[in-house]
Subunit: 162 residues, 3 copies
Protein backbone atom coordinates (compact mmCIF):
# COMPACT_ATOMS: atom_id res chain seq x y z
CA UNK A 1 0.00 0.00 0.00
CA UNK A 2 1.21 3.46 -0.96
CA UNK A 3 2.35 5.48 2.05
CA UNK A 4 2.11 8.82 0.27
CA UNK A 5 -1.17 10.09 1.61
CA UNK A 6 -1.24 13.01 -0.84
CA UNK A 7 -1.84 10.66 -3.72
CA UNK A 8 -4.94 8.88 -2.44
CA UNK A 9 -8.69 9.38 -2.14
CA UNK A 10 -11.37 7.06 -0.80
CA UNK A 11 -15.09 7.32 -1.36
CA UNK A 12 -17.77 5.37 0.49
CA UNK A 13 -20.63 5.03 -1.98
CA UNK A 14 -23.51 4.44 0.44
CA UNK A 15 -26.64 5.83 -1.17
CA UNK A 16 -26.97 4.44 -4.68
CA UNK A 17 -28.93 7.55 -5.72
CA UNK A 18 -28.28 8.59 -9.32
CA UNK A 19 -27.24 12.13 -8.39
CA UNK A 20 -24.89 11.12 -5.57
CA UNK A 21 -23.44 8.36 -7.76
CA UNK A 22 -22.69 10.93 -10.47
CA UNK A 23 -20.97 13.16 -7.89
CA UNK A 24 -18.91 10.20 -6.65
CA UNK A 25 -17.81 9.16 -10.14
CA UNK A 26 -17.07 12.68 -11.37
CA UNK A 27 -14.80 13.12 -8.34
CA UNK A 28 -13.25 9.65 -8.71
CA UNK A 29 -12.46 9.95 -12.43
CA UNK A 30 -11.20 13.52 -12.13
CA UNK A 31 -8.94 12.55 -9.22
CA UNK A 32 -7.63 9.55 -11.18
CA UNK A 33 -6.93 11.82 -14.18
CA UNK A 34 -4.92 14.05 -11.82
CA UNK A 35 -2.78 11.06 -10.86
CA UNK A 36 -4.47 10.24 -7.58
CA UNK A 37 -5.05 6.65 -6.49
CA UNK A 38 -8.78 6.24 -5.86
CA UNK A 39 -10.78 3.53 -4.08
CA UNK A 40 -14.57 3.35 -3.97
CA UNK A 41 -16.19 1.25 -1.26
CA UNK A 42 -19.71 0.27 -2.24
CA UNK A 43 -21.95 -0.43 0.73
CA UNK A 44 -25.69 -0.65 1.55
CA UNK A 45 -27.76 0.93 -1.28
CA UNK A 46 -24.51 1.84 -3.01
CA UNK A 47 -24.14 -1.84 -3.89
CA UNK A 48 -26.90 -1.21 -6.44
CA UNK A 49 -24.42 0.77 -8.55
CA UNK A 50 -22.31 -2.32 -9.16
CA UNK A 51 -25.08 -4.92 -9.44
CA UNK A 52 -25.48 -6.56 -12.84
CA UNK A 53 -28.00 -4.74 -15.03
CA UNK A 54 -29.33 -7.99 -16.51
CA UNK A 55 -30.42 -11.36 -15.18
CA UNK A 56 -31.73 -12.34 -11.75
CA UNK A 57 -29.88 -11.53 -8.54
CA UNK A 58 -29.52 -14.77 -6.60
CA UNK A 59 -29.98 -14.63 -2.86
CA UNK A 60 -30.90 -17.06 -0.10
CA UNK A 61 -34.38 -17.14 1.41
CA UNK A 62 -37.71 -15.66 0.34
CA UNK A 63 -37.35 -12.37 2.23
CA UNK A 64 -33.95 -11.62 0.72
CA UNK A 65 -35.29 -12.53 -2.74
CA UNK A 66 -38.07 -9.99 -2.12
CA UNK A 67 -35.57 -7.34 -0.99
CA UNK A 68 -33.40 -7.87 -4.05
CA UNK A 69 -36.45 -7.75 -6.30
CA UNK A 70 -37.65 -4.42 -4.90
CA UNK A 71 -34.11 -3.10 -4.53
CA UNK A 72 -33.19 -4.38 -8.01
CA UNK A 73 -30.16 -2.22 -8.70
CA UNK A 74 -27.90 -1.99 -11.72
CA UNK A 75 -26.23 1.22 -12.84
CA UNK A 76 -29.00 2.03 -15.32
CA UNK A 77 -31.77 1.76 -12.70
CA UNK A 78 -30.48 4.35 -10.23
CA UNK A 79 -32.91 7.12 -9.27
CA UNK A 80 -32.51 10.71 -8.11
CA UNK A 81 -32.46 11.36 -4.35
CA UNK A 82 -34.92 14.21 -4.95
CA UNK A 83 -37.43 15.01 -7.72
CA UNK A 84 -37.57 11.41 -8.89
CA UNK A 85 -41.30 12.00 -9.48
CA UNK A 86 -42.10 8.38 -10.35
CA UNK A 87 -39.12 8.28 -12.68
CA UNK A 88 -39.98 11.47 -14.63
CA UNK A 89 -37.35 13.62 -12.90
CA UNK A 90 -34.77 10.87 -13.30
CA UNK A 91 -35.47 10.55 -17.05
CA UNK A 92 -35.26 14.33 -17.41
CA UNK A 93 -31.91 14.40 -15.63
CA UNK A 94 -30.55 11.64 -17.89
CA UNK A 95 -31.69 13.65 -20.93
CA UNK A 96 -29.95 16.78 -19.59
CA UNK A 97 -26.78 14.76 -18.96
CA UNK A 98 -26.79 13.47 -22.53
CA UNK A 99 -27.32 16.98 -23.94
CA UNK A 100 -24.39 18.22 -21.84
CA UNK A 101 -22.25 15.36 -23.17
CA UNK A 102 -21.92 13.98 -19.64
CA UNK A 103 -21.30 10.23 -19.62
CA UNK A 104 -23.90 7.90 -18.10
CA UNK A 105 -23.11 6.04 -14.87
CA UNK A 106 -22.38 2.91 -16.91
CA UNK A 107 -19.88 4.82 -19.03
CA UNK A 108 -18.36 6.41 -15.93
CA UNK A 109 -17.85 2.96 -14.41
CA UNK A 110 -15.92 1.91 -17.53
CA UNK A 111 -13.88 5.13 -17.50
CA UNK A 112 -13.07 4.72 -13.81
CA UNK A 113 -11.88 1.15 -14.33
CA UNK A 114 -9.68 2.15 -17.28
CA UNK A 115 -8.12 4.79 -15.06
CA UNK A 116 -7.37 2.27 -12.33
CA UNK A 117 -10.01 3.24 -9.77
CA UNK A 118 -10.39 0.38 -7.30
CA UNK A 119 -13.92 -1.00 -6.71
CA UNK A 120 -14.53 -2.72 -3.38
CA UNK A 121 -17.85 -4.30 -2.34
CA UNK A 122 -18.53 -4.29 1.41
CA UNK A 123 -18.63 -7.88 2.67
CA UNK A 124 -20.71 -7.00 5.74
CA UNK A 125 -23.67 -5.52 3.87
CA UNK A 126 -23.37 -8.19 1.17
CA UNK A 127 -23.80 -10.73 3.97
CA UNK A 128 -26.84 -8.94 5.41
CA UNK A 129 -28.49 -8.54 2.00
CA UNK A 130 -27.64 -12.09 0.92
CA UNK A 131 -25.47 -11.05 -2.03
CA UNK A 132 -22.28 -12.69 -3.26
CA UNK A 133 -19.77 -11.96 -6.04
CA UNK A 134 -22.15 -13.30 -8.70
CA UNK A 135 -24.48 -10.36 -8.11
CA UNK A 136 -21.90 -7.84 -9.27
CA UNK A 137 -20.34 -6.62 -12.50
CA UNK A 138 -16.76 -7.73 -13.28
CA UNK A 139 -15.52 -4.18 -12.55
CA UNK A 140 -15.52 -5.09 -8.84
CA UNK A 141 -11.94 -5.81 -7.76
CA UNK A 142 -12.65 -7.45 -4.44
CA UNK A 143 -14.97 -7.85 -1.49
CA UNK A 144 -13.66 -6.52 1.81
CA UNK A 145 -14.78 -5.13 5.15
CA UNK A 146 -14.49 -1.97 7.22
CA UNK A 147 -10.88 -2.69 8.29
CA UNK A 148 -9.72 -2.62 4.66
CA UNK A 149 -11.51 0.68 4.11
CA UNK A 150 -10.07 2.22 7.28
CA UNK A 151 -6.54 1.18 6.37
CA UNK A 152 -6.86 2.92 3.02
CA UNK A 153 -8.65 5.96 4.42
CA UNK A 154 -6.09 6.61 7.16
CA UNK A 155 -3.50 6.78 4.38
CA UNK A 156 -5.56 9.06 2.15
CA UNK A 157 -5.74 12.79 1.79
CA UNK A 158 -9.43 12.94 0.91
CA UNK A 159 -12.12 10.69 2.40
CA UNK A 160 -15.76 11.22 1.50
CA UNK A 161 -18.98 9.49 2.57
CA UNK A 162 -21.45 9.98 -0.27
CA UNK B 1 -5.72 15.59 23.18
CA UNK B 2 -3.60 13.26 21.09
CA UNK B 3 -1.57 15.11 18.49
CA UNK B 4 -0.91 12.03 16.35
CA UNK B 5 -3.41 12.54 13.55
CA UNK B 6 -2.89 9.02 12.22
CA UNK B 7 -4.57 7.58 15.28
CA UNK B 8 -7.86 9.49 15.11
CA UNK B 9 -11.21 9.42 13.32
CA UNK B 10 -14.25 11.65 13.73
CA UNK B 11 -17.78 10.95 12.54
CA UNK B 12 -20.62 13.44 12.41
CA UNK B 13 -23.78 11.36 12.89
CA UNK B 14 -26.33 13.71 11.30
CA UNK B 15 -29.09 11.55 9.85
CA UNK B 16 -30.30 9.15 12.52
CA UNK B 17 -31.36 6.68 9.80
CA UNK B 18 -30.93 3.04 10.81
CA UNK B 19 -28.76 2.18 7.81
CA UNK B 20 -26.45 5.19 8.12
CA UNK B 21 -26.22 4.64 11.88
CA UNK B 22 -25.10 1.05 11.27
CA UNK B 23 -22.46 2.28 8.81
CA UNK B 24 -21.23 4.84 11.35
CA UNK B 25 -21.00 2.31 14.19
CA UNK B 26 -19.41 -0.45 12.11
CA UNK B 27 -16.72 2.06 11.09
CA UNK B 28 -16.35 3.44 14.63
CA UNK B 29 -16.04 0.06 16.37
CA UNK B 30 -13.73 -1.37 13.69
CA UNK B 31 -11.48 1.69 13.91
CA UNK B 32 -11.41 1.45 17.71
CA UNK B 33 -10.50 -2.26 17.47
CA UNK B 34 -7.62 -1.19 15.21
CA UNK B 35 -6.34 1.12 17.93
CA UNK B 36 -7.73 4.36 16.53
CA UNK B 37 -9.20 7.02 18.80
CA UNK B 38 -12.77 7.68 17.60
CA UNK B 39 -15.22 10.49 18.34
CA UNK B 40 -18.84 10.57 17.19
CA UNK B 41 -20.61 13.94 17.14
CA UNK B 42 -24.38 13.46 17.23
CA UNK B 43 -26.29 16.34 15.70
CA UNK B 44 -29.76 17.08 14.26
CA UNK B 45 -31.64 13.79 13.58
CA UNK B 46 -28.54 11.92 14.70
CA UNK B 47 -29.42 12.94 18.26
CA UNK B 48 -32.19 10.31 18.02
CA UNK B 49 -29.55 7.59 18.18
CA UNK B 50 -28.57 8.59 21.71
CA UNK B 51 -31.99 9.52 23.06
CA UNK B 52 -33.34 7.33 25.84
CA UNK B 53 -35.48 4.48 24.54
CA UNK B 54 -37.91 4.70 27.45
CA UNK B 55 -39.76 7.46 29.26
CA UNK B 56 -40.84 10.89 28.07
CA UNK B 57 -38.40 13.36 26.52
CA UNK B 58 -38.78 16.63 28.40
CA UNK B 59 -38.65 19.82 26.41
CA UNK B 60 -39.85 23.39 26.80
CA UNK B 61 -42.94 24.66 25.02
CA UNK B 62 -45.79 22.95 23.20
CA UNK B 63 -44.21 23.00 19.73
CA UNK B 64 -40.97 21.42 20.93
CA UNK B 65 -42.98 18.80 22.84
CA UNK B 66 -44.77 18.03 19.56
CA UNK B 67 -41.46 17.80 17.68
CA UNK B 68 -39.99 15.43 20.25
CA UNK B 69 -43.14 13.34 20.18
CA UNK B 70 -43.06 12.91 16.40
CA UNK B 71 -39.29 12.70 16.31
CA UNK B 72 -39.28 10.30 19.27
CA UNK B 73 -35.87 8.74 18.81
CA UNK B 74 -34.09 6.03 20.77
CA UNK B 75 -31.70 3.54 19.19
CA UNK B 76 -34.40 0.92 18.75
CA UNK B 77 -36.74 3.27 16.86
CA UNK B 78 -34.40 4.24 14.00
CA UNK B 79 -35.73 3.67 10.48
CA UNK B 80 -34.10 2.97 7.12
CA UNK B 81 -33.34 5.96 4.86
CA UNK B 82 -34.90 3.99 1.97
CA UNK B 83 -37.41 1.12 1.75
CA UNK B 84 -38.80 1.84 5.21
CA UNK B 85 -42.23 0.92 3.77
CA UNK B 86 -44.19 1.89 6.89
CA UNK B 87 -41.73 -0.03 9.03
CA UNK B 88 -41.84 -3.28 7.03
CA UNK B 89 -38.46 -2.75 5.32
CA UNK B 90 -36.92 -1.72 8.63
CA UNK B 91 -38.21 -4.88 10.39
CA UNK B 92 -36.92 -7.00 7.52
CA UNK B 93 -33.47 -5.39 7.75
CA UNK B 94 -33.35 -6.01 11.51
CA UNK B 95 -34.23 -9.67 10.88
CA UNK B 96 -31.45 -9.95 8.27
CA UNK B 97 -28.99 -8.35 10.69
CA UNK B 98 -29.89 -10.85 13.40
CA UNK B 99 -29.52 -13.79 10.98
CA UNK B 100 -26.08 -12.48 9.96
CA UNK B 101 -25.12 -12.20 13.65
CA UNK B 102 -24.74 -8.45 13.25
CA UNK B 103 -25.29 -6.61 16.54
CA UNK B 104 -28.23 -4.21 16.88
CA UNK B 105 -27.60 -0.46 17.18
CA UNK B 106 -28.14 -0.72 20.95
CA UNK B 107 -25.50 -3.45 21.18
CA UNK B 108 -23.14 -1.45 18.95
CA UNK B 109 -23.50 1.55 21.26
CA UNK B 110 -22.42 -0.64 24.21
CA UNK B 111 -19.53 -2.12 22.20
CA UNK B 112 -18.37 1.33 21.09
CA UNK B 113 -18.40 2.62 24.69
CA UNK B 114 -16.44 -0.39 25.95
CA UNK B 115 -13.86 0.32 23.25
CA UNK B 116 -13.52 3.95 24.32
CA UNK B 117 -15.38 5.66 21.47
CA UNK B 118 -16.25 9.20 22.56
CA UNK B 119 -19.92 10.30 22.25
CA UNK B 120 -20.54 14.03 21.94
CA UNK B 121 -24.01 15.62 21.64
CA UNK B 122 -24.12 18.88 19.69
CA UNK B 123 -25.13 21.71 22.03
CA UNK B 124 -26.40 23.92 19.21
CA UNK B 125 -29.01 21.50 17.87
CA UNK B 126 -29.91 20.43 21.41
CA UNK B 127 -30.70 24.08 22.04
CA UNK B 128 -32.82 24.42 18.92
CA UNK B 129 -34.74 21.20 19.63
CA UNK B 130 -35.16 21.98 23.34
CA UNK B 131 -33.18 18.96 24.56
CA UNK B 132 -30.84 18.75 27.53
CA UNK B 133 -28.64 16.03 29.04
CA UNK B 134 -31.66 14.29 30.57
CA UNK B 135 -32.88 13.31 27.12
CA UNK B 136 -29.85 11.16 26.43
CA UNK B 137 -28.46 7.76 27.42
CA UNK B 138 -25.53 7.70 29.89
CA UNK B 139 -23.19 6.67 27.04
CA UNK B 140 -22.96 10.35 26.07
CA UNK B 141 -19.65 11.74 27.36
CA UNK B 142 -20.36 15.44 26.93
CA UNK B 143 -22.25 18.16 25.13
CA UNK B 144 -20.15 20.42 22.96
CA UNK B 145 -20.33 22.64 19.89
CA UNK B 146 -18.80 22.94 16.44
CA UNK B 147 -15.47 24.30 17.73
CA UNK B 148 -14.86 21.13 19.73
CA UNK B 149 -15.64 19.03 16.69
CA UNK B 150 -13.37 21.08 14.43
CA UNK B 151 -10.48 20.87 16.87
CA UNK B 152 -10.72 17.09 16.88
CA UNK B 153 -11.30 16.83 13.13
CA UNK B 154 -8.29 18.97 12.19
CA UNK B 155 -6.20 16.50 14.19
CA UNK B 156 -7.78 13.41 12.66
CA UNK B 157 -6.86 11.29 9.68
CA UNK B 158 -10.41 10.36 8.74
CA UNK B 159 -13.42 12.68 9.02
CA UNK B 160 -16.82 11.57 7.80
CA UNK B 161 -20.24 13.26 7.66
CA UNK B 162 -22.81 10.47 7.75
CA UNK C 1 -2.92 28.51 -2.54
CA UNK C 2 -1.96 27.90 1.07
CA UNK C 3 0.16 24.78 1.48
CA UNK C 4 -0.50 24.49 5.22
CA UNK C 5 -3.11 21.75 5.26
CA UNK C 6 -3.91 22.33 8.93
CA UNK C 7 -5.47 25.64 8.11
CA UNK C 8 -8.00 24.51 5.54
CA UNK C 9 -11.44 22.90 5.31
CA UNK C 10 -13.57 22.10 2.28
CA UNK C 11 -17.28 21.31 2.25
CA UNK C 12 -19.23 19.91 -0.69
CA UNK C 13 -22.77 21.26 -0.24
CA UNK C 14 -24.68 18.68 -2.28
CA UNK C 15 -28.14 18.38 -0.75
CA UNK C 16 -29.63 21.84 -0.39
CA UNK C 17 -31.76 20.62 2.53
CA UNK C 18 -32.32 23.27 5.21
CA UNK C 19 -30.94 21.11 8.02
CA UNK C 20 -27.82 20.00 6.16
CA UNK C 21 -27.24 23.56 4.97
CA UNK C 22 -27.36 24.78 8.56
CA UNK C 23 -24.83 22.10 9.55
CA UNK C 24 -22.54 23.12 6.68
CA UNK C 25 -22.70 26.83 7.54
CA UNK C 26 -22.31 26.37 11.30
CA UNK C 27 -19.16 24.34 10.59
CA UNK C 28 -17.90 26.79 7.95
CA UNK C 29 -18.39 29.94 10.03
CA UNK C 30 -17.02 28.35 13.20
CA UNK C 31 -13.95 27.11 11.32
CA UNK C 32 -13.42 30.56 9.78
CA UNK C 33 -13.71 32.15 13.25
CA UNK C 34 -10.98 29.74 14.39
CA UNK C 35 -8.71 31.04 11.63
CA UNK C 36 -9.23 28.22 9.16
CA UNK C 37 -9.53 28.89 5.43
CA UNK C 38 -12.84 27.45 4.26
CA UNK C 39 -14.20 26.67 0.79
CA UNK C 40 -17.74 25.53 0.06
CA UNK C 41 -18.42 23.81 -3.27
CA UNK C 42 -22.09 24.04 -4.16
CA UNK C 43 -23.25 21.26 -6.46
CA UNK C 44 -26.50 19.57 -7.56
CA UNK C 45 -29.35 20.50 -5.16
CA UNK C 46 -26.84 22.47 -3.10
CA UNK C 47 -26.87 25.08 -5.87
CA UNK C 48 -30.31 26.04 -4.52
CA UNK C 49 -28.62 27.57 -1.47
CA UNK C 50 -26.91 30.21 -3.60
CA UNK C 51 -29.68 30.84 -6.12
CA UNK C 52 -31.23 34.31 -6.05
CA UNK C 53 -34.27 34.48 -3.81
CA UNK C 54 -36.10 36.87 -6.15
CA UNK C 55 -36.77 37.07 -9.87
CA UNK C 56 -36.91 34.34 -12.48
CA UNK C 57 -34.08 31.86 -13.01
CA UNK C 58 -33.18 31.94 -16.71
CA UNK C 59 -32.37 28.64 -18.36
CA UNK C 60 -32.36 27.25 -21.88
CA UNK C 61 -35.15 24.99 -23.14
CA UNK C 62 -38.61 24.17 -21.81
CA UNK C 63 -37.57 21.13 -19.75
CA UNK C 64 -34.84 23.04 -17.93
CA UNK C 65 -37.25 25.92 -17.31
CA UNK C 66 -39.62 23.36 -15.76
CA UNK C 67 -36.84 21.91 -13.61
CA UNK C 68 -35.81 25.33 -12.36
CA UNK C 69 -39.43 26.21 -11.65
CA UNK C 70 -40.00 23.10 -9.53
CA UNK C 71 -36.52 23.21 -8.07
CA UNK C 72 -36.84 26.95 -7.44
CA UNK C 73 -34.14 27.37 -4.81
CA UNK C 74 -33.01 30.45 -2.91
CA UNK C 75 -31.73 30.35 0.67
CA UNK C 76 -35.14 31.16 2.13
CA UNK C 77 -36.89 28.30 0.30
CA UNK C 78 -34.79 25.40 1.61
CA UNK C 79 -36.69 22.55 3.26
CA UNK C 80 -35.84 19.98 5.92
CA UNK C 81 -34.54 16.59 4.76
CA UNK C 82 -36.99 14.97 7.19
CA UNK C 83 -40.25 16.09 8.83
CA UNK C 84 -40.87 18.75 6.20
CA UNK C 85 -44.58 17.83 6.47
CA UNK C 86 -45.70 20.05 3.59
CA UNK C 87 -43.68 22.91 5.01
CA UNK C 88 -45.05 22.73 8.57
CA UNK C 89 -41.93 21.06 10.02
CA UNK C 90 -39.70 23.49 8.15
CA UNK C 91 -41.60 26.52 9.52
CA UNK C 92 -41.44 25.06 13.02
CA UNK C 93 -37.68 24.57 12.72
CA UNK C 94 -37.22 28.17 11.53
CA UNK C 95 -39.23 29.34 14.54
CA UNK C 96 -37.09 27.27 16.91
CA UNK C 97 -33.95 28.68 15.28
CA UNK C 98 -35.16 32.23 15.81
CA UNK C 99 -36.04 31.54 19.45
CA UNK C 100 -32.54 30.10 19.98
CA UNK C 101 -31.05 33.21 18.37
CA UNK C 102 -29.60 31.07 15.59
CA UNK C 103 -29.11 33.06 12.39
CA UNK C 104 -31.11 32.14 9.27
CA UNK C 105 -29.34 30.61 6.26
CA UNK C 106 -29.41 34.02 4.55
CA UNK C 107 -27.71 35.60 7.56
CA UNK C 108 -25.19 32.74 7.74
CA UNK C 109 -24.31 33.32 4.08
CA UNK C 110 -23.54 36.97 4.89
CA UNK C 111 -21.53 36.00 7.98
CA UNK C 112 -19.56 33.42 6.02
CA UNK C 113 -18.70 35.93 3.30
CA UNK C 114 -17.58 38.53 5.85
CA UNK C 115 -15.29 35.89 7.35
CA UNK C 116 -13.74 35.10 3.99
CA UNK C 117 -15.37 31.73 3.28
CA UNK C 118 -14.98 30.97 -0.44
CA UNK C 119 -18.15 30.08 -2.40
CA UNK C 120 -17.66 27.99 -5.54
CA UNK C 121 -20.49 26.88 -7.86
CA UNK C 122 -19.89 23.59 -9.67
CA UNK C 123 -19.66 24.26 -13.42
CA UNK C 124 -20.58 20.68 -14.36
CA UNK C 125 -23.95 20.61 -12.60
CA UNK C 126 -24.64 24.21 -13.65
CA UNK C 127 -24.18 22.98 -17.22
CA UNK C 128 -26.52 20.04 -16.75
CA UNK C 129 -29.20 22.15 -15.06
CA UNK C 130 -28.85 25.00 -17.55
CA UNK C 131 -27.74 27.58 -14.96
CA UNK C 132 -25.19 30.35 -15.40
CA UNK C 133 -23.73 33.04 -13.12
CA UNK C 134 -26.91 35.14 -13.40
CA UNK C 135 -28.82 32.53 -11.40
CA UNK C 136 -26.69 33.07 -8.32
CA UNK C 137 -26.27 35.61 -5.53
CA UNK C 138 -23.18 37.87 -5.64
CA UNK C 139 -21.67 35.93 -2.72
CA UNK C 140 -20.48 33.31 -5.21
CA UNK C 141 -16.76 33.86 -5.86
CA UNK C 142 -16.36 31.70 -8.92
CA UNK C 143 -17.58 28.77 -10.97
CA UNK C 144 -15.22 25.81 -11.15
CA UNK C 145 -15.14 22.04 -11.62
CA UNK C 146 -14.09 18.92 -9.75
CA UNK C 147 -10.36 19.46 -10.38
CA UNK C 148 -10.46 22.78 -8.48
CA UNK C 149 -12.26 21.10 -5.60
CA UNK C 150 -9.80 18.19 -5.50
CA UNK C 151 -6.79 20.51 -5.50
CA UNK C 152 -8.17 22.33 -2.47
CA UNK C 153 -9.31 19.15 -0.72
CA UNK C 154 -5.96 17.38 -1.05
CA UNK C 155 -4.45 20.36 0.76
CA UNK C 156 -7.08 20.46 3.49
CA UNK C 157 -7.26 18.91 6.90
CA UNK C 158 -11.04 18.45 6.93
CA UNK C 159 -13.14 17.51 3.88
CA UNK C 160 -16.85 16.89 4.25
CA UNK C 161 -19.58 15.87 1.79
CA UNK C 162 -22.85 17.22 3.19
Amino acid sequence: MNSNADDKMTIIAFSGDLDKTLAAFILATTAASMGMQVSIFFTFWGLNIIKKNEGPIKSKGILRKMLNLMNRGGAKRLKLSKFNMAGLGTSMMKKFMKESNMPSVEEMIDMAKEMGVEFIACTTTCGVMGLDEDAFIPAVDKMAGAATYLNEARNSKINLFI
